[in-house]
Symmetry: C2
Subunit: 355 residues, 2 copies
């Protein structure tokens, strides 16, 4: 049975990426060797790493603009720490839009003063705070562009002279932004970019080298830049599959095309959430994410009935995060609109069964 994978991450990737990724385990580039057994210093893999770095900058429109792209390990969680290690000299400003921001704040506090400019904790993070000011003397402003758990997304970023650091783990390559407004972007691969096991960091080089502390080698962006992400053995396969996925994004029209498709998919499901009398959305309408759509049954009594419907239909990963309950449809770039239609049809089927 065909599966419809709405998993929040690790998540669906394009089928043609899976095909090539599988083949390369048996024979990479007709070398007679598996991608898993070649040296990371081999010409074949160095070329993969270069292409991955170039594609990331190209898709974001940041080539030749003073940025470097790195593929590191430890996911966004390690970036909560590394950003502060490298950038927090005296104080930093953080916007708290939920779990991931909160974790980033916790780690940053080990390195200096943290100003929480605003928080949506008062309403279980179901909205994005808008009226806040960023101290002009902050070393940087940190925000999370999309909250995977609560299904919110920042639509407008603050206009500030303070450098902006943004965790784009769950919506990178899904929508067009003026990426030059950001000084450091990071993103765990396991949503729109690739499998779990690597994290992309895109950083403006002139942002670095301005803190006094001694930075351990593995924490130091400048060390990784000087070695082109090869200071230590990189996560070869995760970088390779990310490269394949970015190739697919480029071939299919780049970020603009992804954004258009994602908007159509999101409109289809949000319209049903708003129309269907059995369901209600969780996130504030103006802050709704097209990546992670959170919604609940108005009457939990129908839960078992709906869960049976979607599980029987080959739908995977629709259960909401424990912090929110209900349902979460994660609809990353590779998810087809046909899969979204399957869920919409099931919501309508439930409505008919009940009435």
């Amino acid at each position: 049975m065909k599966k419809h994978n709405f998993s929040a991450g690790p998540c669906i990737l394009p089928q043609e990426v899976f095909q090539e990724a599988s083949q390369s385990i048996l024979d990479f580039n007709n070398s007679g060797l598996s991608i898993l057994e070649i040296s990371h210093r081999s010409a074949d893999f160095v070329s993969v790493m270069e292409e991955a770095q170039n594609l990331a900058l190209e898709l974001l429109g940041l080539q030749d603009k003073g940025y470097k792209a790195l593929f590191l390990q430890g996911g966004a969680s390690m970036q909560f720490l590394m950003t502060a290690y490298n950038l927090l000299d005296s104080k930093a400003a953080y916007l708290n839009t939920g779990t991931w921001s909160s974790k980033a704040i916790k780690e940053a506090k080990l390195f200096g003063e943290v100003i929480e400019v605003a928080s949506s904790k008062d309403k279980n993070f179901n909205y994005i705070p808008k009226d806040y000011s960023i101290p002009e003397d902050a070393d940087y402003f940190h925000c999370t562009s999309n909250n995977t758990i609560f299904g919110t997304q920042i639509k407008e970023f603050p206009n500030t002279d303070v450098p902006i650091v943004c965790d784009m783990s769950s919506d990178i390559f899904s929508r067009q932004l003026n990426f030059e407004d950001f000084d450091l972007i990071y993103a765990g691969a396991q949503k729109n970019m690739g499998p779990a096991g690597t994290v992309l960091v895109v950083v403006k080089e002139n942002l670095l080298g301005n803190v006094d502390r001694q930075i351990p080698s593995m924490m130091d962006y400048q060390v990784h830049i000087s070695k082109d992400s090869m200071f230590n053995t990189p996560p070869v396969y995760a970088v390779y599959v990310s490269m394949l996925t970015m190739r697919w994004i480029k071939k299919n029209g780049g970020i603009d095309a992804m954004e258009k498709r994602n908007a159509e998919k999101a409109a289809l499901l949000y319209e049903e959430i708003d129309r269907n009398p059995l369901f209600e959305g969780f996130a504030a309408k103006e802050d709704r994410s097209p990546m992670n759509l959170t919604f609940n049954l108005k009457d939990e009594a129908h839960k078992d009935q709906f869960d049976t419907l979607w599980k029987d239909a080959g739908v995977n990963g629709l259960s909401g995060h424990r912090s929110v309950g209900g349902y979460r449809a994660s609809m990353y770039n590779a998810l087809s609109i046909e899969s979204v239609q399957v869920v919409v049809d099931l919501m309508q089927k439930l409505e008919k069964e009940i009435n």
Copy 2:
């Protein structure tokens, strides 16, 4: 043409592991989903992580002995840092047997006093120092069991009351040791354990929690233990392939059987290195590693001729590291004795061609 892969790491893994690893990219556990697109919180992957942790402890004979096994990211390079973060309270003792030890020493110095108990730098690390004493008040003693670059291996570990921390990246699961003598063992996966992208840490729990500093979450072994290596999204695929490789080790007789086979392979090539008048070994005989066999041509004039011979025969990765030159045959668990015989035959062929 069949390849003979002597790469130092990432390196050869068993062919049946590649087969299963490739199939799982297309369909994991008959779920209709790729291993790359399933949630790390799914029952299927939680079971992979548990099996990987259990297999690591079982192969080392450390089950029910107060140890925990973790699968983290960042390789041994991150462990140079994490060991010091978690264990270095005032001072630590380090044995310097080459590149990796030197890097570990550099990172540890950021956290406290480092006593270098001995070094073999005087002879370009071609031997393992033996006469040294470990300060009784050191927080721990750190050593590298096998040096991948220079081809040396510690055969006897010091008898000390100081906790022993050992980087076993390049010889874990290749030989039997009294693993209970070690308090913390770490190993980048990309030699005998799996592909690049994860690092195994086996730590005695009572060693932890004894330093005063605040440890960032991602650096804190206790945080990772409390979450069973799932504090953040783990490197799913690297852990999965490591699990498959450990299953293969167990099915093929465990560490004892690996050690026997590795000894036979090493004897075959070292005998030829010592017999063949064209070659000489690099490492001191008593410290020779069965994992990484380093040797040189006595006369560099024959280099092109020998290089053509082995490259034409499908041999991969035989060039020595730039710090040593010459040749390095990395002969991990999955390498067959037939591949070793191919190199021996080529060395003899070169001898005949020249005489």
